[in-house]
C-alpha cells in the first residue's frame, strides 16, 4: 500500500461513538473534522456499526467526502471518496472486565493488577492467598463475578507451586462463567511461576480456555508485565470483541485490531512522554469511571477508578468524598441536602448539562473530588515493587523511605494532561486549569494541558501504525496548552513571602495564600528564575533557586502561593472568600 494520506479513526465509548478524520495536507498531518453519534451496542440496535456509521456520516457531511459504501468503508482514498486507513478503539458494553489473582496481595497480585490495568481493564476483584478472606468466601466471590477473563499470577520462577495450585483449585471450585457468551469457556491467563505450569494445566485444561504466558514477576525484584498485557489484548480481540454486538463486523472494517480505549490512551500517553522527554500525569474523567495514567522514571502506570465519574457514578463521588469535601470548593455557602438531591438527579439523568453558573460550580466541585480520589488510588498502585531488598547507603538509613513507595512525584511532574467532558468541555479553559490545580496540587514547575475534543484514544491506536501522524495531530490539534504553574511546596503565615519569579526583566513576588495569573500566550516562552523563600521548595530543595523555561498557554502563567499541601480554611465564610479570590485571579465569574 502506498503511504496513507487520509485516516479515519473511531472510538466506541459506552455512550457516544466519536469519529475523527485526519489528512496529510502539504506534508503535514492535521485533524480535519470530528463527528459523533450515540453508541449502539444495546437494544434495539445491538450492533456497534450502526453508531459508527452515524458518526462517520457526520464526518462525511462536515468534510464533504464520501467515506462509506454499502458494505462498509471505501478503501483506498481516491479524490473525495474513501479512506486509506481505518482504526477503532472501544470501551462500549462495559469495557474489558477482569478478575486477577496472585499469591501475595502486595506482590504478585499487585503486579497482576498493574498488568491488567495497563492493558485497559476494569478490575472486578483482586484475589490473593493472603487477602484475609476464607477460601469459601473467595470461591463464592469468584463465582458471583462474571468477568471477561481472569489473570492468575504468583510465585517467582522456581518458587512456590502449591499456592498456585490452591488458586487453580479455587477456580475449579467456583466454576466461573464469562460475562458474554453463555456457552463459551472462561478465558484464563496464567502468568505465574514457570514450575507450576504443568500442575495448573492439569487442573484447568478443558475446564477453562487456558492461556499460558511468561511469569509477570519472575524474580522478586523484577516485574515483566508486557507478555501478560499482550495476552490480555489478544484475548480481548478474540473473545470479548467477538461476543459484543456487531464487533465481528466492525473488525472486518478496521485495518488493525480493535483496541480497548484505555489501552489506546495509555499508548498515546507513553508516546508523548517518550517524545517530549517528560514525566507526565494524564487523566480521563468520564461519566462512569476516571482513568489515571502516568509515566514517572520511565515506568508507565494506569489505574481506573471504576466508580468515580461525573454522571452515572457521581453519587459514588459524593459517598466517597463526603459532602463537606465537595462544598469546600464552592465560592458560596451551599445547602447540603439541596446539593445531594441535585447530584442524585444528575445520576439518573446523566446526559443533562449545567445551565446555570451555580450548577456548573457544583459539578466542577464534584470533579475536583473525583480527580483527587482517583489520583490517590493511582499513587497507591503506581509504586515500586514491594518486598524487594534494597542496598541502603548511610544517607538512606536516615530517611524513612520504604520499599513500594509511590513513583508519582509531583515535584518531578513536568506535564499534566486533562481529558474527559468536564475538563475538555469546561466553558472556560481557566476552569479546567483550576480544577486540575486543586485536585493534583502540582509542585515546582508544571505545564498544564487539556485534550481539546477527547481524541487521545483514536490517536493512541493510530500511534501503533502511524506514529508520525499520531504525534503530529496530538501536538497540533489535540493538546490545548493551558500554561505553566509555579507552585513551591511548603507552608507559611498569611502575607509571608513564598517566592519570587523573575523573567523578561521583571520580578514577581508571591505571598502565601495568593494565586496570580499572568498573561503568557500559546507558543510564548520565557526563561525564568524561581527563588523560593526560606523553607519553600520549588524543585531544587528548600530555599534553592530554580531556573527553567516557562511555556505559555490559553490561561497563562500561574503563580500559586497557596502552599503544598494546600490549606483550605475551615471557617465557611473564610473558605468561600478564598475560593472567590482564586476565581477572580483566573478571571472567572465569582458570583452566582
Amino acid at each position: 500500500m502506498s503511504e496513507p494520506t487520509r485516516i479515519l479513526a473511531t472510538d466506541c465509548g459506552s455512550t457516544t461513538t466519536k469519529a475523527i478524520l485526519i489528512e496529510k495536507r502539504d506534508g503535514e498531518w492535521r485533524l480535519i473534522c470530528r463527528g459523533e453519534a450515540p453508541t449502539t451496542v444495546e437494544a434495539p440496535y445491538d450492533d456497534v456499526t450502526v453508531g459508527v456509521t452515524n458518526a462517520v456520516r457526520e464526518v462525511e457531511e462536515l468534510a464533504g467526502l464520501t467515506l462509506m459504501g454499502e458494505n462498509g468503508l471505501l478503501h483506498p482514498a481516491d479524490g473525495a471518496r474513501g479512506v486509506d486507513l481505518y482504526l477503532s478503539t472501544s470501551s462500549a458494553g462495559g469495557g474489558l472486565q477482569m478478575t486477577v489473582a496472585g499469591v501475595v496481595k502486595a506482590m504478585s497480585a499487585e503486579s497482576a493488577e498493574r498488568a491488567a490495568l495497563g492493558a485497559g481493564a476494569i478490575i472486578m476483584d483482586v484475589i490473593a492467598v493472603d487477602d484475609g478472606r476464607r477460601d469459601w468466601q473467595k470461591i463464592e466471590r469468584i463465582r458471583s463475578l462474571r468477568p471477561d477473563m481472569v489473570l492468575v499470577s504468583g510465585g517467582t520462577d522456581g518458587g512456590t507451586v502449591s499456592h498456585l495450585v490452591d488458586i487453580a483449585e479455587m477456580l475449579v471450585a467456583a466454576d466461573p462463567k464469562p460475562r458474554l457468551g453463555g456457552n463459551m469457556k472462561l478465558p484464563v491467563i496464567y502468568a505465574g511461576n514457570r514450575d507450576a505450569r504443568d500442575a495448573v494445566r492439569q487442573l484447568l485444561d478443558g475446564r477453562v480456555d487456558l492461556r499460558i504466558t511468561e511469569n509477570l514477576r519472575p524474580q522478586l525484584d523484577r516485574e515483566d508485565l508486557y507478555p501478560a498485557r499482550e495476552a490480555i489484548h489478544e484475548l480481548f480481540l478474540q473473545h470479548v470483541m467477538q461476543q459484543a454486538p456487531g464487533y465481528s463486523k466492525l473488525s472486518t472494517w478496521t485495518d488493525a485490531g480493535i483496541m480497548s480505549t484505555p489501552n489506546a490512551v495509555g499508548k498515546m500517553v507513553q508516546t508523548a512522554a517518550e517524545q517530549l522527554g517528560v514525566q507526565v500525569l494524564a487523566v480521563d474523567i468520564g461519566g462512569a469511571t476516571t482513568d489515571v495514567f502516568s509515566v514517572f522514571q520511565g515506568i508507565y502506570n494506569r489505574t481506573v477508578s471504576a466508580n468515580l465519574g461525573m454522571s452515572y457514578s457521581i453519587c459514588n463521588v459524593l459517598a466517597e468524598a463526603g459532602i463537606e469535601n465537595i462544598v469546600r470548593w464552592l465560592p458560596f455557602e451551599a445547602d447540603r441536602w439541596s446539593i445531594r438531591n441535585r447530584l442524585r438527579n444528575k445520576m439518573i439523568r446523566p446526559t443533562t448539562i449545567p445551565e446555570t453558573l451555580e450548577d456548573l460550580m457544583v459539578e466542577q466541585a464534584v470533579a475536583r473530588e473525583a480527580l483527587r480520589l482517583a489520583f490517590e488510588h493511582h499513587k497507591m498502585l503506581a509504586r515500586g515493587l514491594m518486598g524487594v531488598q534494597q542496598t541502603r547507603t548511610v544517607g538512606d538509613m536516615l530517611s524513612q523511605a520504604q520499599t513500594g513507595a509511590t513513583l508519582v512525584d509531583m515535584m518531578r511532574c513536568d506535564l499534566i494532561i486533562g481529558s474527559g467532558g468536564v475538563l475538555s468541555h469546561a466553558p472556560r479553559r481557566a476552569e479546567a486549569a483550576l480544577m486540575m490545580l486543586d485536585a493534583y496540587q502540582p509542585e515546582g514547575i508544571t505545564r498544564l494541558a487539556v485534550d481539546s475534543i477527547f481524541m487521545m484514544p483514536q490517536l493512541g491506536v493510530l500511534s501503533t501504525l502511524q506514529p508520525e501522524a499520531a504525534t503530529a495531530v496530538f501536538q497540533r490539534d489535540c493538546l490545548i496548552r493551558l500554561g505553566t504553574v509555579v507552585a513551591p511546596a511548603g507552608t507559611g503565615k498569611p502575607g509571608s513571602q513564598v517566592c519570587t519569579v523573575s523573567f523578561g526583566g521583571r520580578t514577581e513576588s508571591v505571598e502565601f495564600g495568593e494565586v496570580r495569573v499572568l498573561p503568557l500566550g500559546e507558543g510564548e516562552t520565557v526563561e525564568a528564575e524561581v527563588v523560593p523563600a526560606k523553607g519553600w521548595d520549588a524543585g531544587a530543595g528548600r530555599g534553592k533557586a530554580v531556573r527553567g523555561t516557562l511555556e505559555g498557554g490559553v490561561v497563562g502563567l500561574i503563580l500559586d502561593g497557596r502552599g503544598r499541601p494546600m490549606v483550605i480554611p475551615a471557617e465557611p465564610a473564610e473558605r468561600a472568600a478564598l475560593m472567590r479570590r482564586t476565581r477572580q485571579a483566573f478571571g472567572l465569574p465569582e458570583e452566582v
Binding site: 470461591i139 471450585a173 456457552n183 445531594r340 446555570t356 450548577d359 466553558p427
Partner: protein, 372 residues
C-alpha cells in the same frame, strides 16, 4: 450530535409489552409457545452447580501432599455424606489415628496430590425464572427461557430500588402535587402497590411496608429518606437487588416533585388493577428503568409499542434540570445555531413556552420529550 435531547419515559395506557425472561445459565424451558401464563408461573429452570468445598486433607492428616493417595478411603466420583471419613492415617502400630471427614455432602470431584487437597462438589441448587407478567408465551429461547407478551398499561419510572413484585394498585394521595404522610396510608394496603403524589416521607414509606404493601410509587423522595429506607447510601445507579420490604419507584426524581399529570391520571384509572412492578434501574450500559406493567384485556387508547419521537416545534417537553426543573412546556423554536447559556457553555438549545407563560431558552440536553 443531531439529536441532543433525552427521550422521555414511556407512560402509556395500552402498549404491547414484551418481556424476555432468561435463566442466568442454560437449563430447561418448561412452557410452549402460546401458553397463557400468570406472574408466578415458572417458565424455565436450571441447576446451578454446587460450590466445591476444598478439604486440606494432607495438612489435616499431618502428611506430605504426595503421600495422600495411600491414606484415601474415597476416589474421584464417589458420593459422600457430611461426616464420612475421606482419608485416614495411623501411626505407632495403629495406636494413633488421624481422620479427615467430609464437611458437606456431595461428590468427590478432585483429589490433588500436589496440594494434598480433596474437593467435594455440593449438590446443585435449582434456579427458576418466572413469567413476572400475566400474558402469552410468544417465543421460546432454547435452554434459556421465553418471551412473554401482554397488552396493557406501561409506566416507566426514573429510579427505583427493590425487585419484581406483583400487587393491586392503590392510590393514596389526594393529588399529584401532594406529599404522602403516614396518616395517608390506609390499614388495608397489604399486597398493594401504593401510589403517592409529589413525595413521600420515610415514615410514610415505612408505614406502607409495615402494613404489607409490596410497592410504593411516588413522584420523588429526598436523598436523606432514600438512605434511611435502604439503610445505606447508593453510589452507582445499578439497583434492583435491594432487600427492601416494598419496591420503591420514583417517577420524577429526587426531591418533592409533582407527579406528571399524565402519569397520575393513568394511575387513578388503573386503581384496583393488578400490576407487575420492578424497581431495577441501570443507567449505564443498556438503560433499564423501573416499571409498572398492568396487563389489560380491553384497554383503549394509545396503542402500539413505546416510540421514540423526534423533538419538533409543538412538542411537549419537561425540563429536567435547574433552574426550571420539572416544569412542562411546549417547544416554540429549535434554533440551528449553538447558543451560550448562563453557565457559559455554548450548546444546542430550544426555546420553550412554559406552562406558566414564560418563554425560556433551555439546552436541548436538559429536556425530555413527553410522548403523546
Amino acid at each position: 450530535m443531531a439529536t441532543a435531547y433525552t427521550p422521555g419515559l414511556t407512560v402509556s395506557r395500552s402498549v404491547l409489552v414484551r418481556k424476555t425472561r432468561r435463566l442466568p445459565l442454560p437449563g430447561e424451558v418448561l412452557v410452549d409457545v402460546g401458553a397463557k401464563v400468570e406472574p408466578q408461573d415458572v417458565l424455565a429452570r436450571a441447576e446451578l452447580p454446587g460450590i466445591m468445598r476444598t478439604v486440606r486433607a494432607a495438612e489435616l492428616l499431618g502428611q506430605e501432599p504426595h503421600d495422600l493417595p495411600q491414606y484415601l478411603l474415597v476416589k474421584e466420583g464417589d458420593q459422600v455424606e457430611k461426616g464420612d471419613v475421606l482419608c485416614r492415617s495411623t501411626s505407632f502400630f495403629g495406636l494413633f489415628k488421624n481422620e479427615c471427614r467430609a464437611p458437606v455432602s456431595g461428590r468427590v470431584e478432585m483429589i490433588n496430590p500436589v496440594s494434598g487437597n480433596i474437593g467435594i462438589r455440593e449438590a446443585p441448587s435449582p434456579v427458576e425464572v418466572t413469567a413476572y407478567i400475566r400474558g402469552t408465551v410468544t417465543e421460546i429461547l432454547p435452554r434459556e427461557g421465553a418471551v412473554v407478551e401482554t397488552r396493557g398499561a406501561l409506566i416507566q419510572g426514573i429510579f427505583g430500588v427493590g425487585g419484581e413484585r406483583c400487587g393491586r394498585i392503590r392510590v393514596v394521595a389526594a393529588g399529584p402535587d401532594r406529599n404522602v404522610t403516614p396518616d395517608d396510608i390506609p390499614d388495608d394496603v397489604a399486597g398493594c402497590v401504593v401510589v403517592g403524589g409529589a413525595g413521600a416521607s420515610l415514615d410514610a414509606i415505612r408505614a406502607a411496608a409495615e402494613k404489607g404493601a409490596v410497592g410504593f410509587v411516588v413522584g420523588g423522595v429526598v436523598d436523606e429518606d432514600l438512605i434511611g429506607y435502604l439503610g445505606h447510601d447508593i453510589g452507582v445507579a445499578i439497583t434492583g437487588q435491594e432487600p427492601v420490604p416494598a419496591t420503591l419507584i420514583l417517577t420524577e426524581g429526587f426531591g418533592s416533585l409533582r407527579m406528571a399529570d399524565r402519569t397520575w391520571e393513568l394511575f387513578t384509572e388503573l386503581e384496583g388493577e393488578t400490576a407487575s412492578i420492578n424497581g431495577a434501574t441501570q443507567i449505564r450500559a443498556g438503560v433499564i428503568r423501573p416499571e409498572v406493567i398492568v396487563p389489560r384485556d380491553t384497554a383503549a387508547g394509545d396503542a402500539g409499542t413505546p416510540g421514540r419521537g423526534m423533538l419538533e416545534v409543538g412538542s411537549t417537553i419537561r425540563i429536567i434540570r435547574e433552574p426550571n426543573f420539572g416544569v412542562l412546556g411546549e417547544v416554540v423554536e429549535l434554533p440551528a445555531q449553538l447558543q451560550t447559556v448562563p453557565s457559559g457553555a455554548t450548546v444546542r438549545v430550544l426555546i420553550a413556552r412554559l406552562s406558566d407563560g414564560r418563554v425560556v431558552t433551555v439546552p436541548r440536553a436538559n429536556v425530555e420529550l413527553i410522548e403523546k
